[in-house]
Amino acid sequence: MSGVRVLVGTRKGAFILSSDGKRKDWTVDGPFFSGWEIYHMKGSPVDPNRIYVSQTSGWFGQVIQRSDDGGKTWLQPGAPIGEKVDAWPPKPSNKFVYDTSTELGKPLTTHQWYDGTQHPWEFKRVWHLEPSLADPSTVYAGVEDAALFKSTDGGESWHELSGLRGHGTGPNWQPGAGGMCLHTVILDPGNPDRMYIAISAAGAFRTDDGGKTWKPINKGLVSPFMPDPKAEVGHCVHHVAMHKARPNVLFMQKHWDVMRSDDAGDNWREVSGNLPTDFGFVIDVHAHQPDTVYVVPIKSDSEHFVPDGKLRVFRSKTGGNEWEPLEKGLPQKDCYVNVLRDAMAVDSLDECGVYFGTSGGQVYGSADAGDTWAPLVRDLPGVLSIEVQTLK
């Protein structure tokens, strides 16, 4: 029997919400890693029982956790509790050190700080974990300060793909309000050498050689806060989404503006259309309809909550420009939550399910592609990320 597992990262721990294919009754497991910030957790598409977790803390730094049994038990790769470490030093699963080696690495340069001065690159945390589409032991990590790391041993050790950080435009990258984070990693299902990433605030980048070299793909983005609003880099891209059947089409929620590209990011055009505000964080695509797109408009960059006290998802069935509000089952009065950039996901059951989590700790789901909504759980800590596993 089919089922759905919703992986919820919150400010104070991780939760797993489970249901059968009907998606009416939900079991809540957790908190796991209670008290820690769980920026992201995501399962391997090859082996759904393998789940990677980014566990982080301002006090204790970064930890990577992994489950090999669908979230029943967890381990720190390379140094599990209670197991003897055979070789010293053990595999450093939480060691994210920028690659400055002469062979493959790049010198550790500086990036732009909030006040325009240059600031050294400093690792802070893992924002996003993206498991490989082909190998359950290969996983990518997007980190703050912005860089991309790769593990090929199940998260036991990490190596930076330094061609991105060393692209040469680094001095013009700058942190957004949440830090200078690489928050989006998209793997092209038809081309293992092609990958997209996005950074706040640098923009979107693409590699066509498996991560060795990268090019900025920001043509068409306009960011009035920048001295040159159409500059090659510096844009505050909040999230990017792709439908696996049409990997050349990308949808982007920028700081302001909802954008679309039909040529793998080479050119972008605005598709905000009739949205009440085009500021927001999340964006996602229906599992079976490549032109059906979801966003959650947020009032403004100064007021990070939904407009008019109403929590509304907006859906376009035309690939942008024409949007309809989806509000059945969602609070339409006195609601002032935010929905962060990685906090929306879809399942791939016949009738596509859509899920999102709020800064107020609610996780909402729709089993009918957004027509109606219901809370899966209401009172978790603030939600940082949502991922969905469709279990066949």
Binding site: G35, W36, G58, W59, F60, Q76, W88, P89, P90, K95
Partner: protein
């Protein structure tokens, strides 16, 4: 510093008691206090080396990987003395070496 063992002439090995903050206890799967065997000289660095050898999941959570420095929001106390800014080669107080007092690893209070 006052109270610290003088010099590294004390040969031998000691069982050093270490009290960890809650989140590092859960990470390592241990109780409030652990004990690690440390060879002289009994410096803070040697205790942390032994702690990480015994509980490798703690690597990178107390000291930064690249620099070996104390993470900014952690502090070290022993015998009511603040060792946080004494450097990693500071010798631990005699009472800690003798096992009468623990070394305290404490999360600084900031945020929630």
């Amino acid at each position: 510093m006052s109270g610290a063992a003088q010099g590294d002439e004390r040969a031998g090995r000691a069982a050093i008691r270490v009290v960890l903050p809650y989140h590092l206890r859960t990470l390592a799967g241990v109780g409030t206090e652990v004990s690690v065997q440390v060879d002289a000289p009994f410096t803070l660095a040697r205790v942390l080396d032994a702690l990480e050898a015994r509980y490798p999941m703690l690597r990178g959570t107390i000291r930064e990987y690249e620099t070996g420095k104390r993470r900014p929001f952690l502090r070290f106390f022993a015998c009511e003395e603040d060792l946080s800014n004494e450097g990693m080669d500071v010798l631990l107080p005699e009472a800690v070496v003798a096992g009468r007092e623990p070394l305290l690893v404490i999360g600084a209070i900031a945020g929630g």
